[in-house]
């Protein structure tokens, strides 16, 4: 019988080994996943008992604390406060019992102090009897630019949904990121369960989707701003030699499938055979549609990738990819003509609009956009800091970027340019190079066009460009009228704070 007993012993051993492996799995390997489960009471309770790290907008000389946990008087409980309310909501997101969003979500493990990078800090705190504390996250956001962006969006879009992103072209630092309509994150941190529940329900079911960060999550057709990509492809493939080379631009372009492509309002484009720079400043659809047919969709897609499209992106807030999709019929030349003017199924985020301008502003080199400049552990030691890096597999030769810069200069400085009145000398003394876009709203054409504007302030005297801005106003109308003035306001505010 002893042989059988030995076998049964092995079976017992196996059961205990399985149990040991499984509790290791639950308590060591899966513990952070379980801690992140929505509605985890313990983790939620715990966050009130110690100080979650602050979020700082550190893009100007004067920092602004945009999220912090404050001890409620007479208790041991902390509550999350957002001192500027709606202004930074698109950046910080919220930290609530129902979950996190924005930076609060992306940097949660550091803010809450559970990150492995803080293990040593937490352990020392444990030994010395100090309280556990989350890390402070410093952002690249410029308070001046952010306030201007928020004010511009909330007062000048006539209620249309809109978003704006400002970048530093030479580093990729995100200077402003605003979305409208937005929400007040303080409403989601109430410690009163009933109030919290009501606020959460209202925001979730609001048809204007205030919780959506449109700067990174909304994709719209780029419209004529996509002509930047089409131009880069034209130069890169040698189809067009330089800005003064002429390209055909009929008043009506007959597409291979027999359909007709008109310019805006059926206007003629100069003499019908303008230089590409002229076609660009007038934003002639027939010229670039024709160019697109010659370039073909795969080439346009390749060049759109060089501007950072067609890839996942996180800044570290997750960004919906901007795409020129390889969908059905995408090789059809008649549709390629629409792709080339940003009107087929290409769709981009406001952040991508800023990246178009930033690529040109930084002489063809696209820097990886980022929000977090550094993370400070308790005691203000730097535990993480960002080094600007070029986005891999992107960028265009600086010569072509120079050509496109000349073209974008004309858009705002030539009296015939589409944005001359709203972003050129009549509007501001600051030199702004830009491109307007007015995208007809595809399948769900509501009669309202999406207004788009991408622009930058060129560097002077060998200095690098200080700022690039992308704006999209859903159903706003003309890009020059509805979008460009918003960008100008942000640029003015930012340069004033950095002069």
């Amino acid at each position: 019988m002893n042989r059988a007993i030995l076998r049964i012993s092995l079976a017992c051993l196996a059961m205990f080994v399985l149990l040991l492996i499984n509790v290791n799995y639950v308590q060591a390997f899966e513990s952070s996943k379980l801690a992140g489960e929505p509605g985890n009471i313990r983790v939620f309770d715990q966050q009130f008992t110690y100080q979650r790290g602050s979020i700082i907008a550190a893009g100007d000389s004067k920092d602004a604390t945009i999220a912090e946990s404050r001890l409620i008087k007479g208790t041991d409980t902390y509550r999350r406060y957002y001192p500027y309310g709606k202004v930074y909501a698109a950046v910080t997101g919220y930290n609530s019992i129902y979950g996190n969003s924005g930076i609060e979500e992306a940097e949660n493990s550091l803010l809450s102090g559970t990150s492995s990078q803080l293990t040593v800090h937490n352990f020392t705190a444990l030994l010395t009897g100090k309280q556990k504390q989350g890390a402070t996250v410093e952002l690249t956001i410029s308070p001046a630019a952010q306030e201007a962006a928020y004010n511009a969006l909330s007062t000048s879009t006539a209620g249309h949904a809109a978003a704006l992103v400002a970048l530093n072209p030479s580093t990729g630092a995100i200077l402003a990121m605003a979305s409208y309509p937005t929400f007040n994150p303080n409403e989601l941190t109430s410690l009163n369960g009933g109030t919290l529940d009501r606020n959460d329900n209202r925001l979730l079911h609001d048809s204007s989707q205030p919780l959506l960060n449109r700067a990174t999550q909304m994709t719209l057709p780029p419209g004529s701003t996509f002509k930047i990509v089409t131009s880069a492809a034209a130069y890169g493939t040698g189809k067009v030699a330089n800005p003064n080379s002429t390209i055909p631009a009929p008043t009506v372009l007959t597409l291979p499938n027999g359909n007709l492509l008109h310019n805006d309002d059926g206007e003629a484009c100069a003499n019908g055979n303008p230089s590409i720079i002229e076609a660009f400043l007038l934003s002639c659809d027939t010229a670039f549609g024709h160019l697109g047919i010659r370039l073909t969709s795969p080439v346009l897609r390749h060049y759109s990738s060089l501007f950072g499209m067609n890839r996942p992106l996180s800044v570290p807030v997750p960004v919906t990819p901007s795409v020129l999709p390889e969908g059905k019929d995408w090789l059809d030349p008649s549709l390629t003509a629409f792709t080339a003017i940003g009107q087929f199924n290409d769709a981009v985020t406001p952040l991508q609009e800023a990246m178009f301008a930033a690529t040109i502003a930084n002489h063809g080199k696209l820097m990886e956009p980022y929000l977090v400049s550094q993370v400070l552990g308790p005691g203000l030691s730097v535990i993480e800091s960002h080094t600007p890096t070029a986005m891999p597999n992107t960028g265009i030769p600086s010569r072509y970027a120079g050509y496109i810069q000349q073209m974008m200069f004309q858009v705002t400085h030539n009296p015939a340019g589409t944005a001359y009145l709203t972003a050129g000398p009549p509007a501001t003394s600051i030199t702004i190079d830009g491109k307007t876009g007015t995208a007809q709203n595809g399948v769900n054409n509501t009669g309202l066009n999406d207004a788009v504007f991408t622009c930058f302030v060129p560097g002077v005297n060998g200095q690098s460009s200080p700022i690039a801005v992308g704006v999209m106003v859903q159903g706003g109308g003309y890009g020059a009228d509805a979008a460009a003035p918003l960008a100008v306001k942000v640029i003015k505010a930012y340069l004033a704070a950095h002069s």
Partner: protein
């Protein structure tokens, strides 16, 4: 010549090792006292004031058990009592900790189902358990004594098992399982005792019938299949456990019974085919009942998708709280009194292991599992060493079922297998389980004493024989 030399050699006497047992027992008690102090420090920041009367009573009971072993089982394995005492002590401390949560300004939920006297009751049951252990040692001088009561105990076991199913729900149904006998303020879980009685029955029956059962039947796919008529007892055990499953909605207890029977059958006959047939029959039965009973099906859903949809706040609330609690404990735990185990409903009962995981961490939980593992190993060791086949079978089966019980409940709580409600031996709140566990310890100690004790002195007998021959 050689004979004389043998006689002059001192016969090696086995060591009793009672002193080692005492030292280890004191160590286990010291751990329990420190854990008790840690609960106070964790909850209130101060060592609980006043004498820990409950723990002192517990310590006295354990020392009484030690003295009884000295007197009645001097050669018993010295590890068994300290291991059991450590588990029982930790269980009492955790019940004290849970009883205090939400009371007297301690953190916890305001609504608590635990009575303020839960700890005292648990200590009282420990003392009753020790009395039962002493009774086992006094009354059962050798395991073989039990063999005489094979069929009596078998009948008692079946009756105990069946009583809750016969009683009206008001007298047998608590928290989803119909396994109780409730009379006034008192309630017992007869299944805990039925398991011991049936173990004796199985051992007695199988020792008597093992030759018949191990007769080779047909060989199929390289496995010796038993004859169909010999399948009878297995099918009866299977049927009985299925009935428990259906009428008492208690898949865990059914698994323990069936597992115990199949393993004892295997030990008796050494035929792997029994294991195979048994496992297949059990899986088949589970499959059938899962399709018939929404309760069993629900357990599977909870196991596979604890976090899906509304499960975390609905049907899977309890296991999800347990898992999140364990994860919250992490490697080193929150410390006794500093976690939030009170979020898990009825944590003091089937889910108590999750409270240990949360407050003592992975490290503490693994230590507890190893203590259980050691206890099982000492039992199997005794089964290997003892000569009496009945004792071998009984202790082998009981040790296995102890391991299986720990596996079923800890595995269920930690999400390894579907959750089934069985108690955690020694740790869970509740008298029946605790007293039954101490009776089991009594049997282990009795058998290990037989296994390690000196063999009957043969030399004098030999001398006598020689005298007879000479005459």
């Amino acid at each position: 010549m050689s004979l004389a030399a043998d006689v002059s050699q001192p016969v090696p006497m086995p060591q009793s090792r009672r002193r080692s047992e005492l030292i280890m027992l004191l160590f286990a008690l010291v751990i329990s006292f420190f854990a008790y102090a840690a609960v106070g420090l964790g909850l209130k920041g101060a060592v609980p004031s006043g004498l820990p009367v409950d723990l002192i009573v517990f310590a006295v009971a354990m020392l009484a058990a030690h003295l009884a072993i000295r007197r009645y089982a001097p050669y018993a394995d010295p590890l068994i009592l300290p291991l059991a005492a450590l588990l029982n002590g930790l269980g009492i401390v955790m019940i004290y900790r849970l009883q205090e949560s939400g009371r007297n300004g301690n953190p916890g939920l305001q609504v608590t189902l635990m009575s303020t006297s839960a700890t005292s009751f648990q200590v009282m049951y420990s003392a009753i358990g020790v009395l039962a252990l002493i009774a086992v040692l006094v009354l059962i001088s050798e395991a073989r004594v039990l063999q005489r009561y094979t069929y009596t105990l078998g009948a008692i076991g079946l009756v105990l098992l069946a009583i809750p199913a016969m009683l009206p729900d008001s007298m047998s149904y608590v928290n989803g399982a119909k396994v109780w006998i409730i009379i006034g303020r008192f309630s017992i879980q007869p299944g805990e005792f039925a398991r011991l009685a049936l173990a004796v029955f199985f051992a007695g029956y199988l020792v008597a019938k093992r030759d018949v059962l191990s007769l080779a039947g047909r060989r199929f796919l390289g496995i010796d299949l038993p004859r169909v008529r010999d399948l009878g007892p297995v099918l009866i055990a299977w049927g009985a456990s299925l009935l428990i499953l259906i009428f008492e909605t208690d898949i865990g207890t059914a698994a323990l019974f069936f597992g115990m029977f199949v393993v004892m059958l295997y030990l008796a006959t050494q035929r792997t085919s029994w294991l195979l047939i048994g496992t297949l029959l059990f899986l088949f039965g589970t499959f059938i009942t899962a399709n018939l009973s929404s309760h069993v099906m629900e357990r599977f859903t909870i196991w596979l998708h604890p976090f899906a949809g509304s499960n975390p706040t609905g049907i899977a609330y309890q296991p999800v709280q347990a898992l999140e609690g364990m994860a919250f404990g992490g490697l080193f735990g929150t410390g006794l009194g500093q976690g939030q185990p009170y979020h898990t409903p009825l944590v003091q009962s089937d889910f108590i292991i999750s409270a240990f995981g949360e407050e003592l961490g992975l490290v503490g939980l693994m230590a507890i599992l190893l203590v259980f593992g050691l206890l099982v190993q000492r039992g199997l060791r005794a089964a290997l060493a003892v000569k009496d086949p009945f004792a071998k079978l009984l202790i082998g089966g009981l040790s296995f079922v102890l391991a299986l019980q720990v596996f079923v409940i800890v595995g269920g709580v930690s999400g390894l297998i579907p959750l089934t409600g069985v108690t955690t031996p020694f740790l869970s709140e509740g008298g029946s389980s605790l007293v039954a566990s101490w009776i089991l310890i009594g049997l282990l100690i009795r058998v290990s004493d037989s296994a390690r004790g000196p063999a009957p002195q043969p030399i004098q007998d030999e001398g006598m024989t020689q005298v007879v021959r000479a005459a």
